[in-house]
């Protein structure tokens, strides 16, 4: 196991662990420590049940660790009140899910602007031209007013990628972003994700079980039984 050599890391995990308590106590993660620097593209791989999704939930401030510490942008994000975590998610994180999860009542442009709307309407108005440009960049310039059901799976996921960048986040968390797409669309979507985040200098943490896709990241962390098995910088 190794840590990133960044002098000012964006995200730092220090001995993070997660135990689910219930009738049977289950340890999902143990002693997870790594750091992510700005602009880095990190892939987390591992077999089913290795703790990938649990780790992503912790990184996304959707869950709290049972032990250890998470620091996001020099802020202790280990145990936040739900509303504080929501505000931080809104301001500093972008999400891409395996399923696009676009809101069916809103157009492509409105869906892309949704995180800005959550943050406040002024922001949505400010960011609208940037979102139009980004949607144009991903080939949806003529489909801004289309509703999700009028778009193909690949197009929907492209809207989801643009949406993840709406609030100009520091870190984009992607959970199997191409898992629901055919290989051609998966490749296109990945390339767009890679290009857009690289251009804007965003850090990306992508959870995937696709090792081929992971090889195209800057760095790969492999999880096994809730622990980091390897942390390798690619190329």
């Amino acid at each position: 196991m190794s840590t990133s050599p960044s002098p000012s890391p964006l995200l730092v995990l220090n001995s993070v662990g997660k135990v689910y308590t219930g009738e049977i106590e289950t340890r999902a993660l143990a002693d997870i420590s790594f750091a992510v620097r700005p602009g880095e593209f990190l892939a987390i791989v591992g077999s089913s049940g290795s703790g990938k999704t649990t780790l992503l939930n912790l990184l996304g401030l959707l869950d709290t660790p049972s032990e250890g510490q998470i620091t996001l942008d020099d802020l202790d994000a280990t145990r936040l009140e739900p509303d504080e975590a929501a505000r931080l998610r809104c301001e500093r994180l972008g999400f891409i899910f395996q399923f696009h999860y676009l809101l069916p009542e809103f157009s492509a442009l409105e869906n892309a602007l949704m995180p800005c709307r959550v943050a406040g309407n002024d922001r949505a108005e400010r960011e609208e031209s940037r979102m139009r440009a980004l949607l144009g960049r991903v080939g949806l310039g003529d489909k801004l007013a289309k509703r999700p059901h009028q778009l193909s799976g690949g197009e929907q996921q492209r809207v989801a990628i643009v949406r993840a960048l709406a609030n100009d986040p520091l870190l984009v968390l992607a959970d199997e972003p191409t898992g629901n797409l055919d290989s051609r669309n998966a490749n296109e979507v990945f390339q767009l994700l890679r290009a857009l985040t690289r251009e804007s200098g965003k850090a990306v943490i992508m959870v995937t079980h696709d090792h081929e896709l992971a090889q195209r990241a800057d760095r790969i962390i492999t999880l096994k039984d809730g622990r980091i098995e390897s942390d390798v910088t690619v190329g």
């Binding site: 939930n57 959707l62 999860y101 009542e105 809103f106 959550v118 309407n121 949406r163």
Partner: protein
């Protein structure tokens, strides 16, 4: 408070789930219609019943006190006067009257103050009205027609002849009494008072008020004629009052009782059973309103719980994107308020239309041929406010539970697809 984000999501979801939205609005609109309609109908019914009772009588009647027999030990001894002891005998039947009544008129007017609408002196007594072999007991009312008409409207209910300007030797009677006696306008009838005085008078007016007690038994003569028949000189037998607010009659009567040496009765005392019926009717109306509100609330809550369940995934994603629980709560309470507001407006329009239509339906009396309202509708702003206020409050509270459930959606479960 609604923000552009919460309002836009709330409105878009409502527009997107058109069927469910229309169903919820329909439930609210039907409930508001029912509340306003039932309240207006029952109010109207009560107004009609109260009017039927109070339009034919004075709201407050002031009469001389009845003389009561007094026991020896109840009397204050008068020094130098011996007490006579004898057997207790039935009081002599004497006409009760108020002598020198004019100063009392002003006193009553002052005491009743703003509550007073009409105050008239009256001379009443029992009389037998006869024509040839027919004899019918009636109630003699000696009045000034122009004044008394403000107590019971005779003038506008005249079938023939006149009431205003009734001269000495003339009488105005109801259509039913005229039919029973077999007399017409201009016929002569004989009046025999309980005091044994007789007067032959001419039928100068025949009226039909629709009140059985007035049309079948009242015999109106000028005050002077009544005083002669009853043998009371210039005295009167009482005063009749109409008050501005019928349900304040008992309070006004109670206040007058404190100040005046007379027997004072209100229509509310005389009609306790009617009032008790009205109270029961009000209670039933309130129960109907309460249960309608409750059912509407439950229906709104059930439909919104369904909406929340259908939107589970979207709610989770919004939360993952940073929407706070409070924002989610607002989205669904806003939906509850919007649905209630639109439902209340539609319900009000529907009820106003329904009431206007029902209010236009008339029924014609088989006996008199007079047209009257089939449904006694009394639409008030109070009913409107109650219907709409209840809808909005119910909509808001009914949306709280589904909204609270929505605010608790765990984005992790949504992302995992659970």
């Amino acid at each position: 408070m609604a923000t552009p984000f919460t309002l836009s999501v709330a409105l878009r979801q409502l527009a997107h789930n058109r069927g469910q939205t229309l169903l919820t609005i329909g439930v609210v609109a039907t409930s508001v219609t029912l509340i306003i309609f039932i309240s207006s109908l029952i109010n109207g019914l009560q107004v009609r019943i109260v009017n039927n009772v109070t339009d034919s009588i004075a709201h407050v009647r002031i009469m001389p006190e009845e003389r009561q027999p007094q026991a020896l030990w109840e009397r204050d001894p008068v020094p130098g006067q011996p007490l006579a002891v004898g057997r207790v005998a039935k009081l002599e039947q004497r006409q009760r009257k108020i002598e020198g009544w004019q100063p009392w008129l002003e006193r009553i007017r002052t005491l009743a103050g703003d509550d007073l609408l009409v105050l008239v002196p009256s001379t009443e007594g029992s009389v037998v009205i006869s024509r040839e072999t027919k004899r019918i007991p009636g109630r003699l009312l000696g009045i000034v027609p122009e004044d008394y008409n403000r107590i019971v409207d005779i003038q506008s209910n005249l079938v023939s002849g006149r009431f205003y300007g009734l001269n000495g030797g003339e009488v105005a009677i109801g259509l039913r009494l005229a039919n029973d006696l077999g007399v017409a306008l201009g016929d002569r009838v004989r009046l025999l008072s309980a005091e044994g005085n007789v007067s032959n008078v001419t039928v100068a007016g025949i009226f039909d008020t629709g009140f059985g007690s007035v049309d079948g038994g009242a015999v109106f003569v000028p005050a002077r004629d009544a005083q002669s028949l009853l043998g009371i000189g210039n005295a009167i037998t009482g005063f009749g009052l109409k008050v501005t607010e019928v349900f304040q009659a008992e309070r006004v009567a109670a206040e007058l009782r404190q100040q005046l040496p007379f027997k004072i009765e209100s229509w509310m005392q005389d009609n306790e059973r009617t009032l008790s019926g009205l109270r029961a009717q009000s209670g039933s109306s309130q129960m109907i309103v309460a249960f309608t509100t409750l059912s509407a609330g439950l229906a709104i809550a059930a439909l919104m719980v369904m909406a929340v369940t259908n939107k589970y995934r979207e709610i989770g994603i919004l939360k993952a994107m940073g929407a706070s629980s409070r924002q989610i709560l607002r989205i669904f309470t806003l939906q509850g308020l919007i649905l209630s507001l639109i439902g209340a407006l539609l319900g009000t329009l529907a009820s106003v239309g329904l009431l206007a239509w029902l209010g236009s339906l008339k029924t014609v009396s088989a006996t008199t041929g007079k047209a009257s309202d089939l449904f006694p509708i009394a639409f008030t702003w109070g009913n409107f406010l109650i219907g709409n206020g209840l809808a909005l409050v119910t909509g808001f509270f009914a949306s709280l539970y589904p909204a609270w459930r929505a605010s608790l959606v765990d984005p992790i479960k949504v992302i995992r697809g659970q």
